[in-house]
Amino acid sequence: MNEPLEIITGEAPICTDDVCLPAIPESHLSSALVDLSEDEAAHLNDNGA
């Protein structure tokens, strides 16, 4: 797992399965910036994604 990054605060509008919200609900993500694990990053890179 990578070292956690400094969290960028500030809510942003987002669409979920439920509804398009004017802001990110805390229940969905605790921060605007999330740090992917090394496994996630490797998977993305391996798949050219």
Partner: protein, 214 residues
């Protein structure tokens, strides 16, 4: 110069995805390195019928259990924000539909190197022009606008050639814990959720650059 690879999960029927796209583009306009963008599928409402007889407001009231006043306020807010990004949303003309085939078309376009062009065309068609993106004929016309061969795409859509690719993208998002879009991944390392301001995108780009040089 740092190269950027940006993976973006989004849905055609996502008003904040088009706005987020514009904000990201604004941030990237000051980036001097190479940028590669790849779009991935995310279906906000996979149970939506292709032909929904009603307005966007009626759909949200009926399917999301929202009251009409709240829906109108929400759409007015989105429309106002979109206008600040140079987008002219028209929810009165919008034709709510299932976006599965549109996603398949985007995967087809990716193999031709025309995915970003088609993504822009489809978002504009959906939110500004009231085009029906659930119908194959409409998709073929819009794809042709960006140079995608009509017959080849028709064959791919009829044969569900890229259906598995759409499903794989949706599953990948779920595995990463993504529950909403737009969702951006920079260089396979940093994830950013939502239509952040271009200042936030600039900050993330700076972080990617710092990591690349450290």
């Amino acid at each position: 110069m740092t190269s950027l690879k940006i993976d973006i999960w989004s849905d055609i029927a996502c008003p904040w995805c088009f706005i987020g796209k514009r904000r990201l583009e604004k941030a990237l306009s000051s980036h001097s390195g190479d940028v590669e963008i790849e779009y991935h599928s995310f279906e906000l409402a996979p149970d939506t019928p292709i032909d929904f007889e009603g307005t966007e407001i009626e759909f949200l009231v009926a399917h999301k259990q929202m009251n009409e006043t709240t829906v109108r306020q929400m759409l007015n807010h989105v429309t106002e924000v979109a206008s600040t990004e140079g987008l002219q949303y028209n929810f009165d003309a919008l034709q709510h539909t299932n976006t599965r085939k549109a996603h398949e078309a985007l995967h087809f376009a990716k193999h031709l190197g025309l995915q970003t062009q088609l993504k822009e065309r489809l978002l504009k068609a959906y939110f500004e022009e009231g085009r029906h993106l659930g119908r194959t004929e409409e998709l073929l016309e819009l794809a042709a606008d960006v140079g995608i061969p009509r017959d080849a795409l028709a064959q791919a859509l009829a044969g569900n050639t890229h259906a598995a690719d759409v499903t794989a993208d949706v599953n990948r998002a779920r595995e990463m814990g993504v529950t909403g879009v737009p969702f951006f991944v920079f260089n396979g390392r940093f994830g950013v959720a939502g239509a952040q301001t271009h200042d936030v995108f600039l900050d993330v780009i700076d972080r990617v650059k710092q990591e690349a040089t450290s």
